[in-house]
């Protein structure tokens, strides 16, 4: 049985695809051939490398560049005899890899990106959506949610910057200094606790009170960016920060209900700190988008990993730091570039593990250290960029009063009470 026939797009579909591709400005035949061969790649009948080579010239001719992301040497160089087949890849490479990346590419393009990239995207979207349908990863990301965050993926080293944290729960004493620092730095309204420290007791973890500082997890595969109807909630391509464009957000709160962590705080009424008291440096990021400091009324806000600091607008020395980290005297919060092995979060984790060595002289089968780490709700597949050192709260964990209360620090725990007062005040004025 001819495998070619089996995996070819059925003639009817092909006719339909041809019609759709005809409506684009690009070469229909190329689109159909690409789609057919992409299926062969998935079926393992064609290597990624061969696929790449086969179309490289024609793609460059059609789109002026070949934007397919593949970790292969330049095929032109190979053709010139510098590599050869073996150097390109052995053909048994991860066939899903390229398609995943193609899927990633199809998922969204950054409006700020170059025109040529967008052209490839258009064609790719036509061919890909039709013929690949579902081969690429379908878990979408927003515009601007691009390769930087995608490549950073699951904690391996990647290109560029990927801001993240290691929070060592064993060091946290629940002093709430981080919450206060965050509140002040970002001019938050009462109860909008972008940084929130849980004090909890867990019957599975003994009698003592444990603490868990919760920022936004700046997930690599963030549900909030996926569901945002207007692309206001987005992942910044350059460093993976999950931000809200206050100029675009319509305040539907879909991000808030889709987030499994409850990190979003809507601006229900007038912000406590008026805009006139906040510098643009805090609010406008290096792309010129209004994403920093507290949100205006009617718009969603959440932890930004101090985007103003990361853009150097608070001074060079503040890059790679956050307000909460700076305020933490217990060495619990470590912020930095997760792609840099020497960054504070990576270094802390490494050094902490080294300091908690296991006794392997008597028990050689034990792992090297006794440190346990976790990410919040890992099973949700959001791929958070915050890693905790310590034990995850079990389902029996219950929040309790900590040694320092929120009120003592001038903070508000339950925002609903503040909102109720605000509603009364509003009603009183108009009544």
């Amino acid at each position: 049985m001819s495998t070619d026939d089996d995996i070819d797009t059925p003639p009817d579909d092909e006719e339909r695809h041809r019609r759709l591709l005809d409506e684009t400005d690009y070469d229909t035949d190329l689109g159909l051939e690409l789609a057919r061969d992409a299926q062969r790649v998935t079926a393992g009948e064609l290597s990624e490398a061969a696929f790449y080579r086969r179309y490289h010239d024609r793609i460059v001719e059609e789109f002026e560049m070949d934007d397919r992301e593949i970790d292969l040497p330049d095929p032109d160089a190979l053709a010139a005899g510098e590599g050869g087949d073996g150097g390109v890849g052995d053909g048994s490479g991860d066939a899903g890899g390229f398609l995943d990346r193609l899927g990633d590419a199809l998922e969204g393009f950054d409006p700020d990106d170059g025109e040529s990239r967008r052209s490839v995207m258009k064609k790719g979207a036509a061919a890909g959506a039709l013929a690949l349908g579902g081969l690429g990863s379908t878990g979408g990301a927003g515009p601007g949610d691009g390769t930087a965050a995608g490549a950073a993926g699951s904690g391996e080293e990647g290109d560029g910057t990927r801001w993240g944290m290691t929070i060592n729960l064993n060091n946290c004493d629940g002093c709430l200094a981080c919450m206060v620092a965050c509140d002040q730095e970002h001019n938050l309204s009462r109860g909008a606790n972008w940084m929130y420290v849980f004090a909890f007791e867990d019957e599975n973890q003994g009698e003592e009170t444990n603490f868990l500082p919760r920022t936004c997890q700046h997930c690599t595969d963030s549900p909030c960016t996926k569901v945002c109807p207007v692309g206001a909630r987005h992942t910044r391509e350059e460093d993976g920060l999950v931000l809200t464009d206050y100029d675009i957000c319509i305040g539907c709160r879909y991000c808030e209900v889709s987030c499994p962590y409850g990190v979003n705080y809507f601006q229900w009424g007038e912000p406590d700190v008026p805009e006139s008291e906040i510098d643009d440096d805090h609010q406008i990021d290096d792309r010129g988008r209004w994403v920093g400091s507290r949100p205006p009324e009617g718009v969603m806000g959440k932890c930004t990993f101090c985007v103003d600091r990361q853009d150097g607008q608070m001074g060079e020395e503040k890059i790679g730091t956050t307000a909460c980290e700076e305020a933490c005297t217990m060495d619990a919060i470590h912020f930095g570039d997760l792609n840099d092995p020497e960054s504070p979060p990576n270094r802390h984790l490494r050094e902490y593990r080294e300091s908690q060595e296991n006794d392997r002289s008597d028990y050689p089968n034990r792992k090297e250290h006794t440190v346990s780490t976790f990410q919040l709700l890992e099973e949700r597949g959001t791929d958070p960029n915050v890693t905790f050192v310590g034990n995850a709260p079990s389902q029996d964990a219950r929040q309790v009063d900590g040694p320092v209360t929120y009120e003592e620090m001038g903070l508000t725990d339950n925002r609903k009470e503040v909102l109720d007062q605000g509603a009364e005040a509003a009603g009183g004025e108009t009544a």
Partner: protein, 440 residues
Amino acid sequence: MSVDVTGVDRDTLVRPIRTVSTRYLAALSVALGMIGVWLFFYLQQLRHGLIVTNLADWGSGGGVPWGLYIGAFIWWVGIAHGGIILSAAVRLLGMDTYQPVARLAELLTIAALTCAGIFILIHVGRPDRLVTSVIPAWPTRVQWSPLMWDVTVITAYFVLTATYLGLTIRYDLHRLRNRLPNRLDPIYDVLLVGYSETEDAVVERMVWWIAFAIIIMAPLLLHGGVIPWLFALLPSMAGWAGGVQGPSFLSIALTSAVSGIIIVAAAFRYAYGWAELIPEAVFRGLGQWLGFFSLLFLWLQLQQVITGIFAAPTTLQHATEVKIATPLYWVAIGVVALAMLYVFAASLRPSLFSLPLLVALSVGVLAGTLIEKVLFVVEGLMHAHFDLYAGVPGAYTPSAVELSALVGTVGIVVLFFLVVSKVIPVVELHAIEDHGEVEG
């Protein structure tokens, strides 16, 4: 069951257009009053922000960010979708019995979709950006955001329904023109622009295809698809996720819509002495549909409760336990069950049938489905998987501002019918005259 109303004359059909009674004016005042109450409260929301609602942040915030506004949005969309499904079914399947109420169902769809739109408008924090943010984002975001799918299909649907209505009205207006008031001529001129009788056959085919599109779209994409997907696709909230939401939403939509049509049709029948035009048999038939859809509704609720309490994951189990411990939930289930039992009893013993009772039960069913929808939204949000927060579950009772919007939108629907019925015939000519026999 076949009902012949072809004996009714054309004057009966245009009766609402040619009379204005004091009762009409009273109803108009009530509708305007209801809208006024809502506008009064809504102005407060515009001035102070959503803080005047009882919504809040979930998590440490101790509340729910979606509440009555979203519940009522789903409810209105459900009425709209069910309404047009029934009307399209009349056309596609040739269910002539229901022809006298087909246009009322279409009008209900337009009115209810408008109300659904209003709930989106007042739900968002920045209604001024609904155009400036949504339109530029559409080409990219429609690929990912269920909310964008939602906006898209509802808009498409509104256009389809309005087209459908616009096309079918021309036929009637042309033939009834000499019975219609001259002062409205400019409106009729616009509606009839370019009309000639040769288009009738073409329009009939077009309308068939639109009805076909609607009947395909509504269950698959609308209330059986996009609307439930707003929730069913989010794994963060235990009570929302899962495949049962599609069928469940659709059953609620159909139940609500039949109730709505029964109420509207009965109101016209009562107000204009239309016992002949909309005979009791129509209501008996609608009642049976109501009973059948109620049965589906109850069955799907049972599915959710059983799978939620038997050996469910802890958060789902907790969410379900709270749901079934909520008295209001049983009120909702109770009124729907009552309507179902009555309708089936009246089918077995026709002497039990009473139109006023059916209307009362329909009102009850609409209240029940609204309660179910609001509880679905709110309870769902109150039982997040990540429940370490002492503030979760929070508390939520709709504020006066939110409740007033419900009053206002009901007022809008009443106003819509009062106004439209003075302009166009709300029962189509085909109901009283077969296609072939119509002469100017």
